[in-house]
Protein backbone atom coordinates (compact mmCIF):
# COMPACT_ATOMS: atom_id res chain seq x y z
CA UNK A 1 0.00 0.00 0.00
CA UNK A 2 1.05 3.56 -0.58
CA UNK A 3 -0.69 6.85 0.01
CA UNK A 4 0.07 10.51 -0.30
CA UNK A 5 -1.36 13.46 1.52
CA UNK A 6 -1.10 17.09 0.66
CA UNK A 7 -3.08 19.99 2.04
CA UNK A 8 -5.95 19.04 -0.19
CA UNK A 9 -5.56 16.11 -2.53
CA UNK A 10 -5.17 12.55 -1.27
CA UNK A 11 -4.26 9.60 -3.42
CA UNK A 12 -3.76 5.96 -2.54
CA UNK A 13 -2.96 2.73 -4.29
CA UNK A 14 -3.08 -0.92 -3.36
CA UNK A 15 -1.62 -3.83 -5.26
CA UNK A 16 -3.33 -6.37 -3.04
CA UNK A 17 -5.22 -8.98 -5.09
CA UNK A 18 -7.79 -9.55 -2.38
CA UNK A 19 -10.55 -6.93 -2.57
CA UNK A 20 -11.10 -6.55 1.18
CA UNK A 21 -7.38 -6.19 1.78
CA UNK A 22 -7.08 -3.68 -1.07
CA UNK A 23 -10.02 -1.66 0.23
CA UNK A 24 -8.43 -1.48 3.69
CA UNK A 25 -5.16 -0.24 2.21
CA UNK A 26 -6.86 2.36 0.03
CA UNK A 27 -9.00 3.62 2.91
CA UNK A 28 -5.91 3.92 5.07
CA UNK A 29 -4.15 5.85 2.33
CA UNK A 30 -7.01 8.25 1.78
CA UNK A 31 -7.45 8.97 5.48
CA UNK A 32 -10.51 10.31 7.19
CA UNK A 33 -10.78 13.84 5.84
CA UNK A 34 -14.11 14.37 4.07
CA UNK A 35 -14.04 14.26 0.30
CA UNK A 36 -16.50 15.98 -2.01
CA UNK A 37 -15.39 13.70 -4.82
CA UNK A 38 -13.89 10.23 -4.46
CA UNK A 39 -12.55 8.50 -7.54
CA UNK A 40 -11.29 4.95 -7.87
CA UNK A 41 -9.97 2.74 -10.63
CA UNK A 42 -9.82 -0.99 -10.10
CA UNK A 43 -8.82 -4.14 -11.89
CA UNK A 44 -11.87 -6.14 -13.01
CA UNK A 45 -10.49 -8.85 -10.75
CA UNK A 46 -11.79 -6.77 -7.85
CA UNK A 47 -15.41 -6.39 -6.79
CA UNK A 48 -16.05 -2.88 -8.08
CA UNK A 49 -19.42 -2.32 -6.37
CA UNK A 50 -17.87 -3.48 -3.10
CA UNK A 51 -15.05 -0.95 -3.53
CA UNK A 52 -17.53 1.82 -4.32
CA UNK A 53 -19.67 0.95 -1.31
CA UNK A 54 -16.68 0.99 1.04
CA UNK A 55 -15.52 4.36 -0.23
CA UNK A 56 -19.05 5.74 0.01
CA UNK A 57 -19.36 4.50 3.58
CA UNK A 58 -16.13 6.29 4.51
CA UNK A 59 -17.12 9.43 2.57
CA UNK A 60 -20.92 9.51 2.90
CA UNK A 61 -21.33 13.01 1.47
CA UNK A 62 -19.08 12.49 -1.53
CA UNK A 63 -19.82 11.60 -5.12
CA UNK A 64 -18.05 8.27 -5.59
CA UNK A 65 -17.21 7.34 -9.16
CA UNK A 66 -14.95 4.73 -10.70
CA UNK A 67 -14.39 2.12 -13.34
CA UNK A 68 -12.54 -1.04 -14.16
CA UNK A 69 -9.15 -0.60 -15.79
CA UNK A 70 -6.19 -2.08 -17.60
CA UNK A 71 -3.81 -1.02 -14.87
CA UNK A 72 -3.87 1.80 -12.38
CA UNK A 73 -1.41 4.30 -11.02
CA UNK A 74 -0.69 7.02 -8.58
CA UNK A 75 2.46 9.09 -8.19
CA UNK A 76 3.89 6.21 -6.15
CA UNK A 77 3.80 3.69 -8.96
CA UNK A 78 1.84 1.89 -11.62
CA UNK A 79 0.65 -1.68 -11.73
CA UNK A 80 -2.15 -4.05 -12.59
CA UNK A 81 -4.67 -6.08 -10.60
CA UNK A 82 -4.90 -3.37 -7.94
CA UNK A 83 -6.83 -0.23 -7.04
CA UNK A 84 -5.95 3.44 -7.24
CA UNK A 85 -8.08 6.11 -5.62
CA UNK A 86 -8.23 9.77 -4.76
CA UNK A 87 -10.29 11.91 -2.42
CA UNK A 88 -10.78 15.56 -3.36
CA UNK A 89 -12.13 17.68 -0.52
CA UNK A 90 -14.13 20.87 -0.63
CA UNK A 91 -10.92 22.92 -0.71
CA UNK A 92 -10.65 21.72 -4.33
CA UNK A 93 -14.12 20.58 -5.36
CA UNK A 94 -16.99 22.55 -3.92
CA UNK A 95 -19.63 20.50 -5.63
CA UNK A 96 -19.76 17.23 -7.56
CA UNK A 97 -22.79 15.67 -9.20
CA UNK A 98 -22.71 12.34 -11.02
CA UNK A 99 -25.13 10.44 -13.17
CA UNK A 100 -24.94 7.00 -14.67
CA UNK A 101 -26.04 6.71 -18.29
CA UNK A 102 -27.14 3.17 -19.09
CA UNK A 103 -27.11 2.44 -22.80
CA UNK A 104 -28.45 -1.11 -22.59
CA UNK A 105 -31.92 0.15 -23.53
CA UNK A 106 -30.60 2.33 -26.35
CA UNK A 107 -27.80 4.84 -26.55
CA UNK A 108 -29.75 7.98 -27.40
CA UNK A 109 -32.39 7.45 -24.76
CA UNK A 110 -29.90 6.45 -22.09
CA UNK A 111 -27.61 9.41 -22.61
CA UNK A 112 -30.38 11.97 -23.03
CA UNK A 113 -32.02 10.78 -19.83
CA UNK A 114 -28.74 10.96 -17.93
CA UNK A 115 -27.83 14.42 -19.16
CA UNK A 116 -31.29 15.70 -18.33
CA UNK A 117 -30.89 14.22 -14.86
CA UNK A 118 -27.51 15.90 -14.49
CA UNK A 119 -29.02 19.29 -15.32
CA UNK A 120 -31.88 18.68 -12.89
CA UNK A 121 -29.45 17.71 -10.13
CA UNK A 122 -27.30 20.74 -10.83
CA UNK A 123 -30.31 23.02 -11.19
CA UNK A 124 -28.86 24.87 -14.12
CA UNK A 125 -28.35 24.25 -17.85
CA UNK A 126 -24.87 22.90 -18.53
CA UNK A 127 -24.31 25.32 -21.41
CA UNK A 128 -24.72 28.27 -19.05
CA UNK A 129 -22.09 27.18 -16.52
CA UNK A 130 -18.86 29.14 -16.22
CA UNK A 131 -16.13 27.03 -17.88
CA UNK A 132 -13.46 28.62 -15.71
CA UNK A 133 -15.06 27.14 -12.58
CA UNK A 134 -16.57 23.93 -13.90
CA UNK A 135 -15.12 20.82 -15.51
CA UNK A 136 -16.60 17.44 -16.38
CA UNK A 137 -15.32 13.91 -16.04
CA UNK A 138 -16.46 11.17 -18.40
CA UNK A 139 -15.87 7.51 -17.61
CA UNK A 140 -17.18 5.32 -20.41
CA UNK A 141 -17.39 1.60 -20.89
CA UNK A 142 -14.61 0.53 -23.19
CA UNK A 143 -16.12 -2.24 -25.26
CA UNK A 144 -19.23 -0.87 -26.98
CA UNK A 145 -17.74 1.91 -29.09
CA UNK A 146 -20.05 4.66 -27.86
CA UNK A 147 -17.36 7.20 -26.97
CA UNK A 148 -17.69 9.33 -30.09
CA UNK A 149 -21.44 9.69 -29.65
CA UNK A 150 -21.08 10.60 -25.99
CA UNK A 151 -18.50 13.27 -26.81
CA UNK A 152 -20.67 14.70 -29.58
CA UNK A 153 -23.72 15.02 -27.36
CA UNK A 154 -21.66 16.51 -24.55
CA UNK A 155 -20.20 18.97 -27.03
CA UNK A 156 -23.66 20.00 -28.18
CA UNK A 157 -25.22 20.23 -24.74
CA UNK A 158 -22.25 21.80 -22.97
CA UNK A 159 -20.20 23.43 -25.73
CA UNK A 160 -18.19 25.62 -23.39
CA UNK A 161 -17.37 23.05 -20.73
CA UNK A 162 -14.42 20.72 -20.92
CA UNK A 163 -15.06 17.04 -20.28
CA UNK A 164 -12.05 14.79 -19.90
CA UNK A 165 -11.94 11.11 -19.14
CA UNK A 166 -11.24 7.67 -20.37
CA UNK A 167 -12.71 4.39 -21.45
CA UNK A 168 -12.80 1.66 -18.85
CA UNK A 169 -10.60 -1.40 -19.29
CA UNK A 170 -10.66 -5.04 -18.34
CA UNK A 171 -7.00 -6.00 -18.10
CA UNK A 172 -6.75 -6.49 -21.87
CA UNK A 173 -9.52 -9.09 -22.13
CA UNK A 174 -11.58 -6.69 -24.29
CA UNK A 175 -14.66 -8.50 -23.09
CA UNK A 176 -16.54 -6.44 -20.51
CA UNK A 177 -15.80 -3.25 -18.63
CA UNK A 178 -17.71 -1.53 -15.87
CA UNK A 179 -18.29 2.09 -14.90
CA UNK A 180 -19.67 3.00 -11.49
CA UNK A 181 -21.28 6.14 -10.16
CA UNK A 182 -24.37 7.52 -8.44
CA UNK A 183 -24.61 4.27 -6.50
CA UNK A 184 -25.00 2.20 -9.64
CA UNK A 185 -22.88 0.26 -12.12
CA UNK A 186 -23.17 -0.68 -15.77
CA UNK A 187 -21.19 -2.58 -18.33
CA UNK A 188 -22.79 -0.61 -21.17
CA UNK A 189 -22.85 3.08 -20.50
CA UNK A 190 -21.02 5.97 -18.95
CA UNK A 191 -20.66 7.87 -15.72
CA UNK A 192 -20.70 11.62 -16.21
CA UNK A 193 -19.63 13.90 -13.40
CA UNK A 194 -19.83 17.64 -13.22
CA UNK A 195 -17.49 19.46 -10.87
CA UNK A 196 -17.52 22.97 -9.49
CA UNK A 197 -13.89 23.69 -8.78
CA UNK A 198 -12.70 25.99 -6.01
CA UNK A 199 -9.15 26.33 -7.32
CA UNK A 200 -7.60 27.05 -10.70
CA UNK A 201 -7.40 23.97 -12.90
CA UNK A 202 -6.01 23.04 -16.29
CA UNK A 203 -6.40 20.16 -18.70
CA UNK A 204 -3.43 18.13 -19.91
CA UNK A 205 -3.15 16.30 -23.21
CA UNK A 206 0.12 14.62 -23.98
CA UNK A 207 1.17 12.20 -26.66
CA UNK A 208 4.65 11.49 -27.90
CA UNK A 209 4.43 11.36 -31.69
CA UNK A 210 5.61 13.29 -34.69
CA UNK A 211 4.60 12.94 -38.35
CA UNK A 212 7.07 11.17 -40.62
CA UNK A 213 5.92 13.18 -43.63
CA UNK A 214 3.64 10.63 -45.25
CA UNK A 215 -0.08 11.30 -45.55
CA UNK A 216 -2.64 8.58 -46.18
CA UNK A 217 -6.20 9.27 -47.32
CA UNK A 218 -8.95 7.04 -45.99
CA UNK A 219 -10.82 6.04 -49.13
CA UNK A 220 -13.08 3.33 -47.71
CA UNK A 221 -14.14 2.77 -44.13
CA UNK A 222 -16.85 1.20 -42.03
CA UNK A 223 -17.17 4.01 -39.52
CA UNK A 224 -19.49 2.24 -37.11
CA UNK A 225 -17.22 -0.79 -36.89
CA UNK A 226 -14.12 1.46 -36.73
CA UNK A 227 -12.61 -0.43 -39.66
CA UNK A 228 -10.58 1.21 -42.42
CA UNK A 229 -10.68 -0.91 -45.58
CA UNK A 230 -8.74 1.24 -48.03
CA UNK A 231 -6.03 3.86 -47.82
CA UNK A 232 -5.17 5.83 -50.96
CA UNK A 233 -7.49 3.53 -52.90
CA UNK A 234 -5.56 0.39 -51.98
CA UNK A 235 -6.08 -2.29 -49.36
CA UNK A 236 -5.40 -0.62 -46.03
CA UNK A 237 -2.93 -3.22 -44.78
CA UNK A 238 -0.90 -3.09 -47.97
CA UNK A 239 -0.68 0.72 -48.13
CA UNK A 240 -0.09 1.21 -44.40
CA UNK A 241 2.71 -1.37 -44.41
CA UNK A 242 4.34 0.31 -47.38
CA UNK A 243 4.15 3.69 -45.63
CA UNK A 244 5.89 2.49 -42.48
CA UNK A 245 8.33 0.31 -44.39
CA UNK A 246 7.41 -3.12 -43.11
CA UNK A 247 6.11 -6.32 -44.61
CA UNK A 248 2.29 -6.52 -44.45
CA UNK A 249 2.62 -9.67 -42.35
CA UNK A 250 4.56 -7.66 -39.76
CA UNK A 251 2.34 -4.57 -39.80
CA UNK A 252 0.56 -5.27 -36.50
CA UNK A 253 3.92 -5.18 -34.74
CA UNK A 254 4.42 -1.63 -36.00
CA UNK A 255 1.07 -0.26 -34.82
CA UNK A 256 2.26 0.87 -31.39
CA UNK A 257 5.11 3.05 -32.62
CA UNK A 258 3.56 4.08 -35.94
CA UNK A 259 -0.12 4.98 -35.53
CA UNK A 260 -1.99 7.42 -37.71
CA UNK A 261 -3.14 10.84 -36.64
CA UNK A 262 -4.04 14.41 -37.39
CA UNK A 263 -1.84 17.41 -36.78
CA UNK A 264 -3.87 20.34 -35.45
CA UNK A 265 -2.01 23.53 -34.64
CA UNK A 266 1.20 21.55 -34.34
CA UNK A 267 -0.26 18.98 -31.95
CA UNK A 268 -0.78 15.32 -32.84
CA UNK A 269 -4.22 13.80 -32.30
CA UNK A 270 -3.79 10.06 -32.59
CA UNK A 271 -5.95 7.37 -34.21
CA UNK A 272 -4.51 4.04 -33.16
CA UNK A 273 -4.89 0.86 -35.18
CA UNK A 274 -5.92 -2.09 -33.06
CA UNK A 275 -5.78 -5.19 -35.24
CA UNK A 276 -5.74 -6.52 -38.77
CA UNK A 277 -9.07 -7.55 -40.23
CA UNK A 278 -9.49 -10.34 -42.74
CA UNK A 279 -9.85 -8.87 -46.20
CA UNK A 280 -7.10 -6.28 -45.91
CA UNK A 281 -8.75 -3.95 -43.42
CA UNK A 282 -7.55 -2.47 -40.14
CA UNK A 283 -9.68 -2.02 -37.06
CA UNK A 284 -8.96 1.13 -35.06
CA UNK A 285 -9.52 2.10 -31.44
CA UNK A 286 -11.69 4.99 -32.61
CA UNK A 287 -13.80 6.02 -35.56
CA UNK A 288 -12.07 7.12 -38.76
CA UNK A 289 -14.16 8.88 -41.39
CA UNK A 290 -13.81 8.36 -45.12
CA UNK A 291 -11.97 11.15 -46.90
CA UNK A 292 -9.76 12.08 -43.96
CA UNK A 293 -6.08 12.66 -44.67
CA UNK A 294 -4.04 11.24 -41.83
CA UNK A 295 -0.38 11.52 -41.09
CA UNK A 296 1.73 8.47 -40.42
CA UNK A 297 3.23 9.09 -37.00
CA UNK A 298 6.30 7.84 -35.24
CA UNK A 299 6.79 7.65 -31.52
CA UNK A 300 9.17 10.00 -29.77
CA UNK A 301 9.91 10.43 -26.07
CA UNK A 302 6.87 9.28 -24.08
CA UNK A 303 8.41 9.95 -20.69
CA UNK A 304 9.83 13.32 -21.68
CA UNK A 305 6.52 14.43 -23.18
CA UNK A 306 4.70 13.35 -20.03
CA UNK A 307 7.11 15.34 -17.91
CA UNK A 308 6.70 18.39 -20.12
CA UNK A 309 2.91 18.10 -19.99
CA UNK A 310 2.84 17.98 -16.19
CA UNK A 311 5.42 20.75 -15.90
CA UNK A 312 3.41 22.85 -18.35
CA UNK A 313 0.27 22.34 -16.29
CA UNK A 314 2.14 23.39 -13.16
CA UNK A 315 3.32 26.55 -14.90
CA UNK A 316 -0.19 27.41 -16.07
CA UNK A 317 -1.28 27.07 -12.45
CA UNK A 318 1.40 29.48 -11.29
CA UNK A 319 3.56 26.68 -9.96
CA UNK A 320 0.85 25.64 -7.50
CA UNK A 321 -0.53 22.22 -8.43
CA UNK A 322 -2.21 20.13 -5.76
CA UNK A 323 -3.11 16.95 -7.62
CA UNK A 324 -4.34 15.42 -10.86
CA UNK A 325 -6.78 12.89 -12.23
CA UNK A 326 -5.16 11.26 -15.26
CA UNK A 327 -6.26 8.92 -18.04
CA UNK A 328 -3.45 7.09 -19.81
CA UNK A 329 -3.86 4.93 -22.88
CA UNK A 330 -3.28 1.20 -22.50
CA UNK A 331 -0.97 1.33 -25.53
CA UNK A 332 1.23 3.80 -23.69
CA UNK A 333 1.28 1.41 -20.75
CA UNK A 334 2.25 -1.48 -23.03
CA UNK A 335 4.97 0.67 -24.58
CA UNK A 336 6.27 1.54 -21.11
CA UNK A 337 6.18 -2.13 -20.13
CA UNK A 338 8.16 -3.04 -23.24
CA UNK A 339 10.70 -0.28 -22.66
CA UNK A 340 10.96 -0.73 -18.91
CA UNK A 341 9.93 2.87 -18.22
CA UNK A 342 6.94 2.42 -15.93
CA UNK A 343 8.82 3.88 -12.95
CA UNK A 344 10.01 6.80 -15.08
CA UNK A 345 6.38 7.47 -16.01
CA UNK A 346 5.27 8.01 -12.45
CA UNK A 347 8.50 9.87 -11.67
CA UNK A 348 7.54 12.28 -14.46
CA UNK A 349 4.77 13.59 -12.22
CA UNK A 350 7.49 15.16 -10.10
CA UNK A 351 5.83 14.21 -6.83
CA UNK A 352 2.46 15.66 -7.77
CA UNK A 353 -0.24 13.51 -6.18
CA UNK A 354 -2.16 11.80 -8.98
CA UNK A 355 -4.73 9.11 -9.45
CA UNK A 356 -5.19 7.49 -12.83
CA UNK A 357 -5.77 4.39 -14.85
CA UNK A 358 -4.69 2.85 -18.13
CA UNK A 359 -7.61 3.21 -20.52
CA UNK A 360 -9.12 1.82 -23.69
CA UNK A 361 -9.32 5.35 -25.09
CA UNK A 362 -9.14 8.92 -23.86
CA UNK A 363 -11.73 11.66 -24.05
CA UNK A 364 -10.92 15.30 -24.59
CA UNK A 365 -12.97 17.21 -27.17
CA UNK A 366 -13.39 13.87 -28.89
CA UNK A 367 -12.36 10.25 -28.52
CA UNK A 368 -8.61 9.89 -29.01
CA UNK A 369 -5.90 7.29 -28.58
CA UNK A 370 -2.35 6.79 -27.30
CA UNK A 371 -2.65 9.93 -25.24
CA UNK A 372 -2.49 11.01 -21.62
CA UNK A 373 -5.37 13.29 -20.72
CA UNK A 374 -6.50 14.63 -17.41
CA UNK A 375 -7.20 17.58 -15.22
CA UNK A 376 -4.64 19.14 -12.90
CA UNK A 377 -5.91 21.09 -9.94
CA UNK A 378 -4.17 24.10 -8.44
CA UNK A 379 -4.27 25.42 -4.93
CA UNK A 380 -6.41 27.98 -3.23
CA UNK A 381 -4.72 31.27 -2.45
CA UNK A 382 -4.84 30.48 1.27
CA UNK A 383 -3.31 26.98 1.11
Amino acid sequence: MSGTTTAAFRSARSAAPDTEHAIDEVLDGLGDSPGELVVFFASPAHDGPRVAAALQARHPDASVIGCTDAGEFTESGTGTLGISAAALPTEIITRAESVLADFSGGFEVGLARALMQLEVQWGWPLRQLDPSRHVGLALMDGTHGCEERVNELLGNLAPFLTFVGGSAGDDLAFSETTVLGAGQATTHGAVLTLLEVAVPFTVVKSCAFEPIGTTLRVTRADVGERIVWELDGRPAVERYAEAVGVDPDDLADAFMVSPLGLMIDGEPWIRSPQQLVEGGGIKFYCEVLEGVDMEVMHSTDLIGETERAIDGARERLGGQASGALLFNCILRRLQMDAEGTADAFTAAFGGLPVCGFHTYGESYIGHINQTLTGVVFGRSASS
Binding site: E152, G155, N156, P159, I264, W269, G291, I365, G366
Partner: protein, 68 residues
Protein backbone atom coordinates in the same frame (compact mmCIF):
# COMPACT_ATOMS: atom_id res chain seq x y z
CA UNK B 1 -24.43 26.35 -56.89
CA UNK B 2 -22.40 24.40 -54.35
CA UNK B 3 -22.07 25.99 -50.90
CA UNK B 4 -18.79 27.43 -49.71
CA UNK B 5 -17.29 27.28 -46.23
CA UNK B 6 -18.55 30.77 -45.32
CA UNK B 7 -22.07 29.63 -46.23
CA UNK B 8 -21.74 26.72 -43.82
CA UNK B 9 -20.43 28.98 -41.07
CA UNK B 10 -23.26 31.42 -41.67
CA UNK B 11 -25.76 28.58 -41.45
CA UNK B 12 -24.29 27.46 -38.15
CA UNK B 13 -24.39 31.02 -36.80
CA UNK B 14 -28.13 31.10 -37.32
CA UNK B 15 -28.45 28.83 -34.30
CA UNK B 16 -25.38 29.53 -32.22
CA UNK B 17 -23.01 32.27 -31.23
CA UNK B 18 -19.41 32.72 -32.38
CA UNK B 19 -17.89 30.96 -29.36
CA UNK B 20 -20.07 27.90 -29.83
CA UNK B 21 -19.31 27.80 -33.54
CA UNK B 22 -15.62 28.01 -32.71
CA UNK B 23 -15.92 25.08 -30.29
CA UNK B 24 -17.86 23.08 -32.86
CA UNK B 25 -15.27 23.84 -35.52
CA UNK B 26 -12.56 22.23 -33.43
CA UNK B 27 -14.63 19.08 -33.08
CA UNK B 28 -15.27 19.07 -36.82
CA UNK B 29 -11.55 19.37 -37.44
CA UNK B 30 -10.84 16.50 -35.07
CA UNK B 31 -13.35 14.32 -36.94
CA UNK B 32 -12.67 15.33 -40.53
CA UNK B 33 -9.23 16.91 -40.52
CA UNK B 34 -10.73 20.00 -42.14
CA UNK B 35 -10.29 23.42 -40.56
CA UNK B 36 -13.54 25.25 -41.33
CA UNK B 37 -12.89 28.41 -39.38
CA UNK B 38 -9.24 29.00 -38.57
CA UNK B 39 -6.04 29.96 -40.32
CA UNK B 40 -5.76 26.57 -42.00
CA UNK B 41 -9.22 26.69 -43.57
CA UNK B 42 -8.95 25.89 -47.28
CA UNK B 43 -9.65 28.87 -49.51
CA UNK B 44 -11.47 26.83 -52.13
CA UNK B 45 -12.36 23.41 -50.75
CA UNK B 46 -13.52 20.90 -53.32
CA UNK B 47 -17.02 19.50 -53.35
CA UNK B 48 -15.90 16.27 -51.77
CA UNK B 49 -14.41 18.13 -48.80
CA UNK B 50 -17.50 20.26 -48.34
CA UNK B 51 -19.72 17.20 -48.45
CA UNK B 52 -17.51 15.54 -45.88
CA UNK B 53 -17.77 18.54 -43.58
CA UNK B 54 -21.53 18.76 -43.99
CA UNK B 55 -21.87 15.02 -43.42
CA UNK B 56 -19.83 15.25 -40.24
CA UNK B 57 -21.87 18.21 -39.04
CA UNK B 58 -25.08 16.32 -39.67
CA UNK B 59 -23.76 13.31 -37.78
CA UNK B 60 -22.88 15.65 -34.93
CA UNK B 61 -26.44 16.94 -34.82
CA UNK B 62 -25.97 20.05 -36.93
CA UNK B 63 -27.54 19.50 -40.32
CA UNK B 64 -26.94 22.77 -42.17
CA UNK B 65 -28.24 21.67 -45.57
CA UNK B 66 -31.76 23.14 -45.09
CA UNK B 67 -30.19 26.55 -44.47
CA UNK B 68 -28.01 26.51 -47.59
Amino acid sequence: MAPKLPDIIAALQQDMGPAEVHALALRVRLNTGVDILGADAPASPDTETLERVMGALAAMGHDVSPAL
